[in-house]
Structure formats: structure tokens, C-alpha cells
Symmetry: C2
Subunit: 609 residues, 2 copies
Amino acid sequence: MIILSARKSTETFNYSSMKFYSKKNLHFLLYDVFQIENLAQYPLFEEHNKETYNMVLDACTDLSTQKLRPILTEMDRNAPDFVNGRIKVHPDMKELMQAFGSGGWINAPLSYEEGGQQMPYMIFNATIFIMGAANYSASVYPFLSAGAANLIRSFGTEAIKAAYLENLYNGTWQGTMALTEPEAGSSLGDISTSAEPTEEGYYKIKGQKIFISCGDHDGVENIVHLMLARIKGAPKGSKGISLFVVPRMRPDAEGNLEFNDVTTGGIFHKMGYKGAPIAHIITGEQDDCRGYLVGEANKGLHCMFQMMNEARIAVGFNATSIASAAYYASLQYCRERSQGRRMGTKPAAQSLIIEHADVKRMLLFQRSVVEGSLSLLMECSRYADLSRVTTGEEQQKYEAILGLLTPVAKSYPSEMGCLSTSTAIQCLGGYGFTEEFLPELFYREARIHPIHEGTTAIHGMDLLGRKIAKDQGASLNLLIIEITETIQKATEVASLQAYAASLGTTLEKIADATMHLSSLAMQGKLEAFLADSTLYLETFGVTIIAWQWLKQGLVATEKLGGHEDDFYQGKLYTMEYFFEYELPKTRSLLKTLQSKTSVTVDMQDGHFD
Amino acid sequence: MIILSARKSTETFNYSSMKFYSKKNLHFLLYDVFQIENLAQYPLFEEHNKETYNMVLDACTDLSTQKLRPILTEMDRNAPDFVNGRIKVHPDMKELMQAFGSGGWINAPLSYEEGGQQMPYMIFNATIFIMGAANYSASVYPFLSAGAANLIRSFGTEAIKAAYLENLYNGTWQGTMALTEPEAGSSLGDISTSAEPTEEGYYKIKGQKIFISCGDHDGVENIVHLMLARIKGAPKGSKGISLFVVPRMRPDAEGNLEFNDVTTGGIFHKMGYKGAPIAHIITGEQDDCRGYLVGEANKGLHCMFQMMNEARIAVGFNATSIASAAYYASLQYCRERSQGRRMGTKPAAQSLIIEHADVKRMLLFQRSVVEGSLSLLMECSRYADLSRVTTGEEQQKYEAILGLLTPVAKSYPSEMGCLSTSTAIQCLGGYGFTEEFLPELFYREARIHPIHEGTTAIHGMDLLGRKIAKDQGASLNLLIIEITETIQKATEVASLQAYAASLGTTLEKIADATMHLSSLAMQGKLEAFLADSTLYLETFGVTIIAWQWLKQGLVATEKLGGHEDDFYQGKLYTMEYFFEYELPKTRSLLKTLQSKTSVTVDMQDGHFD
């Protein structure tokens, strides 16, 4: 129902009945486009089938609808607070952490022996997507625990595993990733938190960490930081960084908890994503903070990258979650709100605004972003699943393509999520700017994603300067083979030929631009090579999403088979929208990428006044 | 100074010492590019000169720095509240309203006889820009009074003028524009507030208005609404709407104030722009609300358009104000923050982030938006000034071009202001998402501008469907002559020839696209004609701003004259940025505009699930 009068008090509304994602679309991607049931051919996944997957997804939707969505606006408006040196979060988080743990929402991908469900990432990540669409802030708590626990599981000693894993996976303790420092954000090589070896085997940790998500809160008994620090005497830069488990309370041999000299310096007040506390953490003020080495000394960044790659895909999912929630909020509004008359008609009563072409354009834009991004993220999850069950060259191929797609899968949904949620606001007009409706909340939440887990610029450099350059384009070629396969299939379908051709042409132009930029690198012009890598990433991203739309278009065309069906027809229209309105953006980006200008290099500090 | 630790309490920071606009750039536009001193040839402006203009601008800057900026964050964090049926605003607003009134900030363009200063709009609008950059919310109060008072001045009877003008212009009373109703936002023709004639000459008003900026507050003695309503029996639609003065308290013959049955239904809680209250207003609940007709009956929309056109230009200025404040906040951060090393160098210490090409790109983007928009808005202000002092064909020409440019001058800064403030956040990384720094506040504030005073879609239809179509392109041709003049001048300067050619080519393509779209209209395909008018507006906007950059480039090249000067060199780099990174965006837009797709028309409600 549309609320047309101004709010008279600070009452909050219950949005739990509002749709926040499309189950039909999720099933379309999982079962029709990516054919997850094929995974059953591998022993790891052989006990799963459509029925078990749907049970998981439905249970996740129930939890999200009944427990997460009802506290969405409360968590935003009564943000966590810093009281007497500790952070207080929404009172429901205590019960929720238990629910996340007992429901298997933290450890589902683990083997049965480890207490997990051998869940494919396609399904596990779908649950991240669903929970994030219901209530992004609440959904990050379990995800952070999973990331921390998975690092311990991969690199920790048996003693550390025994001491930490159970409580992290069952939701009793909170895990974090503690990387950033005041002077070391994007530049991790410059972290200065120190670790001094002791004869007892542990290290004495001293230093400060900032922007630590869920770095402290009263919804759990203990906080376990997976923290980067520099062992005294270690090499400078990124080759001297090690990974430690640094608990707030350290368990002794009997499992009793003792304070580990980890204090909370404060909380960051943020524009959105308010329900999850972001803490300033101080270690070793009393010279009694113990850290336990995880993995090899000085190989901390290597270990951390496992967590960061998972986190980057998760950020892509969450950015898509928020855009999805905003899309459905605005779609509902457009179907209820009357205003003006459809162009060319003169009825006495006003038209629903969904009848206006420009409103439909705004909805199509949002849907193309949401469903295009989700498709790419499912593609990435599929590669992650396949790399778990394959070996040798095949496995290397999946890992190479996943590595190449990761910066895109993180950045495209993040950047476009900001525009998509903004478009949701625009659909509501003046109401969209008010707190009576949800889009403004989503707009504020979405803005974190182009920043955390590596800014968009960092991912541009990762794509062009590392992922493409490291093997002289070999990974890129593997990806191009995959895309070309889709193009070839589409060429055989009359209604898709034009789109196939359009994608093929764009791909060739990207190859040209890549050659052009690489030639700069080969001439030693490193700064010019990477100066526009953010634009390169954007170009690459739009093209990859066009590939995903063509994939979806192929399946939708087949399913439709000449009959009438709103869902598949809507899919095809949205594909058409993407190819006609979004893919052309690569034209201007490629023009700039191939330009001879060096203005962003030439411009100097003094010229900015 | 960069604050690197988390905030421990709800302390607020004093940002009054931070730069929020460039005086040098403002002077460059006023004196060098638009040569405001030439206005002295007209009697209306003959007493003004550079010295008097600078006195006004400096006084405005002092007021903004000393009174407006210091309460910027307070007004955001302690937003107006609805208490016992009335709206309470920041306590300083009482003093500020007096200061706006006594300082002449409400009535400066008026003639000396009317108590004004015969101030050119170029200067008056520059003061709107400066105050908006200091504190947007605070700056709208006087502007709204000016708009309301100017309507009374243009269309009111002598009795109404005598009763209202003085108190509106001196800041004792607040003026508003009361258009929107729950069922009539973009669709003003559907207004249902009723006005019943009485034998006493006044009308009895009954109805509800929403989203009324400054619609009620305790910083003034009275609120005077310029309200649209429908006289009983009037024609349906926009031809039956009349304009009324509807005061909250009505003055009697002796000037005593009596309650006029105008109550406040509530306040809208918004994402940003929080310091200015947006009210829900109820009239005639006791059947005792008197409204006084302004202008002719049923011609209310015509009258209101005077105010709306002024307001649209002002919104452009304010969007630019906010982007300017965000630009300087992020520029300061980039000059103080060290992170990483400049590409291709390996110093021991980290580089200032302003040394990174991608950071410079983000700053160039912001600057190109801010200074490009401000230039266009000054161009519009110049046309407004010239139309005040000319007659006949010359005046018609200025009015035609101003009319054509108004949707662009409103929308380009509004849309790009959202992206520009977002880029300011990105420059700050994680800090940009926190309330410790200003960009997040600007990001929230900027989002209102694509909505109020007509959404971007409304302006797209205004440009293509009304302003260009109404005279078969005659106004458009007048504008093209102006642009062509700049192109010709630039063609004579070797370093600008490529830019001149590029702008010329784009202009031709826009002409082609306009022909293509017009042919649809001529075939009666009205829906297809206007379906992409938002994209047409965007294309037009980027091109117009390129024109403004070429204008600035011409002057900067001449001023530089082969010497070194950071300001002029920076201008030329920013022009280069705009032509290499922004103008190419028209390529993809034009591709879409010329596409045969009709997907936004074909897609139907049911396809969206």
C-alpha cells in the first residue's frame, strides 16, 4: 500500500511482506541456465538434487522473511552504539547468530565429516544473495565468520582448528578479517601492526586496525580476528606480512576465556549498512595481546587472498541483493501509483505509472542490472564448484577464468548497484527521497560496495595489470573461448543473431584496446598503461554482462518455443534492453581507452585550484 | 586535517574553514567568459561595476562562511521536528531569516524603487550558488520567499502586494510554492484542492498539499503559501487551475494576524537536505481558510511557471553548489592522504593519493561537472539579464534560448551532481562512507535534485516534446547559431581545433537524431517519439556542457598566452578531460536514440516478474 500522508512520528513500517528477490529467476538461473543438477555427476555433490536445493533455498527465504526483513529499518534507524568500551548491536542479533550457526548457514559448503553439507557454492551463494536482499547488514555477520573460519580451516594448525572452528561455525563466536589500518587501506603492504615472537610459540601483537566489520559486538561471546601483522624483522612491504588468529578473549586449555588485550577504540558512524558495526580495534595496549600464526610466516597476504576472493564474490552478490530489493520495492510502487496519462491516450483517470515508457525504461535498467549481475555471479560460483571437483588442466582453466572474472563480478554489481538503487528512488519521485519508503535506505547501503573489499580502481588494476597481464592473455583467451561458444550458439537462432553479432564485435574491439594498452606496458609506460584501468574494467564488465544476457536469452528463447509466457518474454525484452541501452556504452568507453590523451597523468596537484 | 581514528561520541566537527567554492573560477566566469561588466551599458545596471559586484560576492561569502557553514552538520543530524502540530527548525534560522532579509539576499534583483539593488541575475544567482555550497538546506529558505514574493509582485493586486511583500522580502515571513498533492505530483493538471468564491472577494480553500518546502517552521512569524487550487466549476485539467495567496495567519486591515485554518499535518523525514523542513499542509478543515486570487482565474499554471522557471535554474545552481562543496572536500583529502606509490615509482614513503592517475581522473570528473555546469548556469543567467533590458526580436531570442536551456540547466547538474558527489566519496575510500567526513552528506543532499522542480523525465519531455517541437526547431536554431559562433572562434586557435571539430560533429549528429525523432512524431507515433526523451536530454546536456568548456577554453588559452599559470593550465586540462572522457558518451546515447528498438513501449506490466 502506498502511504500518501506524511509520517507523524518515528514509527517504523513492517516491510516483511514485500518481495525482495525473484524465486522464479533464481530457479531459472540455477536449473535452466547453469544446470546445477549436472553437478551430481561428481561424488562431492552426488547426494544433492533439485529437491534438496529447493529445501535449502526455501528455508533461507523463510528465515530471511521472518527474521531478517522485519528488523531491516530498525537496524538502520537504531544503529549499533559504542557504550562503555563495547559495541551494542540490535538485540535480535544474539538469537540470529545462533540461528545462522544451527541452520548451517555458516558452514554449508564444508564436507559431511567437518559438519557441513557439501553444498555447492551456487546454492550457498544463493543463500547469501537471499539474506542480503532481505537485510544486508544482518547478513554480513555469518558471512564474516565463515570467511575467518575457512582461513583457519585451510591454513591453521590442528590446535588452532580445535580451539576456534566449532564456535565460529555454530555462531557462538564472531569471526572477522582485520586488515585495514589508519595508514594502510588499499596499500596493504604498508601495515604496521607488529608481532613479536615469544618462546611460548605465540606472538605478541601490537597495533591498531580500523574499519573492522563486526569487529566487536554483544551478540556473541567472543570475537576472533584473522589479522594481518608484521613479524619483527620481516621484510618490508607485502612480502613481510603474516596472518594471525587474534581473539578478543583467548581460550585456555580448559576452554575458559581470558581477556586478550584487544580493546575497542570506537565505532564508525556510516551513511548506510548501519546495522553491522564497523569497529576500531586496538591490540596490545597492555603488552598482553597474543596472536597465533596461521600459515607460513610472511605469507599472510597469500592466505588472506583466499578469504578476499570469496569476499569479493560475496560483495558482488550483496550489491546485487540490494539492487534486487530496491527493484522490487520500486516495481510494486509503479504498479500501485497513478500519475499522468500514458502518452497518446486521454483517459479521465490517471494511468498507473508503469504504463509510462520512461518508467518502464527505469525498471528495465534495474532488472537488467540485477538479473545480469546475478547470472555472472552464478557463473563464477559454478566455476568455483567445478574447480573443487576437477584436477589438472581442467581445474586450472576454471580457476583462471574465475580469477579473471572476480574483479568484474565484484565491481560491476557494486558500481551499477549504486545507479540501480538510485533509479529505484527515481521511480518513486518525491516519495523515493523519504524514509517512508525503502529505496533511500538501499541507496545508502549500496554505496559501500564500490569501496570495501578493494575499491573499483584496485579491481581495474587487478584485471588489467595482473589477471590479464600475468600470463600474457592466456586466461583471457580461455574466457574468450567460453564467450565465443555462447555467441556461436546464438548465431544459430534467428532472433538472437543480431545480438550475437553485436557482442562479437564488442569483444573484438576490447581485444584491440587490450593490445593497444599492452603495447604501452611493453614500452615501459606503466602509468599510461594503467591510467584508465577503471574504464577498462567498466568496458569489460558491460560486455561480460551482455554475454550473460545472451546466455539467458538462449535459454528463454528455447523455453518460450513460440508460445506465450510472461516470464520468458520479459527475459527476452530485458536482454533486448541490455543490448540496445547498455552495451552501446562500450562505444564511448572504447573511444576514450583508445584516445591519445594523457590528461590524467599530465594534470598536476597545482592545476586543481 | 584528516581524522584517522574512529569517533568516540556524537561530537560534530566544525567545517567552516573548509573551502566550498572557487572564488577565482567564479570571477573567471563572470568577468572573463561572460563579461558581466558589459551590462553597464544598460540603464538598469549602469551603477554596477566589478567593485560593487565583488563587494556583494564577498559579503555573501562571509555570511556563508560565518553563519551557514558552521551549522551544516548540525542541521543534518538534528533535523527539523514536528512538535505539537508545528515544525521546529534549527534555532539559528530565526536570526538567519532576518539576516537574509536585511542583507538584501531575498530582493536584490528588484528595482531601487521597490527596495532592491537592480542586481543582475548573474550576481544574484552567484549568491545562491555560494550559499548553497556552504549549506544547501539553509539556503533554500530565502530563495523560496523570493519566488513567492516575485509571483505576488508580478501578478498580485496592489492590496495583496501591500499586505505581503514587505514581510516576505525582509525575512519576517516565509514564502512557499504549494503545488504538489498526494495524487498530483508530476501531473499538476490533477490538482484537487478547491477554491470556493465568496461575496467578500476571497475564496474558501480546502485540500491537502504535500512536499511543501519550508511549508511550516518556527523561524518566522508567518508562512505565506502561493498555492494552486481549482475554483469550483472550473474546467478539468491544467486549464482549470488558479493561483492563490494562502497565508497560515491572515493579516487584518490593521496588520494583526489571525489564524487562517492552515494546519501542518506532518513532516517528511528524508534522506538528505534535512535542514529544510518539507511539510504536509492541510487547509480548510474548519471551513475557514481564505485564499486570495493572484492573476487571472484558471491561469494559475501560467503564473506559476514564472516561479518554476526561476526555481529550475536555482536547482541547477544548488546541485552545482553541492557538487562544488564535495569536490573541494575530496580535493583537500587527496592532498593530505598518503596511500600506495605512484605507478612506476618506488619511494620508501607512500605517495599522496593526488599523484595517482585514477584519483586525478576522479577529481577532473568532479571539476568538469562543477565548472561546466556553473558556466552553463551563468550563460542562462546572462540570457535572463539580457531579456530584462532588451525588447522585440532580441528579447525574444534571449527568452527562446533560455527556455530551451532551462531543462538542461536544471537536469545536467542534478543528474551529474549525484555522480560527482559519489566520486567525492570514492576519493576518500572507506572514510568517504563515514559521517566523519562531509562527502556522504553531500551525496545524500544531491539526490533530491533529479526529483524536485520536475523530475529528469519531465524535463526530457519538456525539451524534446515542448521546447524543440513547439516552434518547429526555431529556438533550437537560435541556440545552434550561438554554439556555432564558439566553434568558429575555436577553429581559429590551433590548440582548440580538434575540440571545435568534435563539438561540431556531435552537434550535427544531434540534429540528425532530432530529425529522426521528429519524424516519429509526424507519423503520429507520440509514444515512440518521447520514449527516450530522457536520453535525448542527457545527450543534449553533455553537448551543451562541451560547448561551455570550449568557451572557457578559448578564454583560458588567450589568458595563458603561452605563459605558465596553474589556473588557466588546469582549465585547459579540464576541458581536455571533458572532451576525451565525457563528450564521447554522446556516441552511445546517439546509438540508442537512433536504434529501432521499441522495448520500453512493448514491455508490459506482466513481463516484469
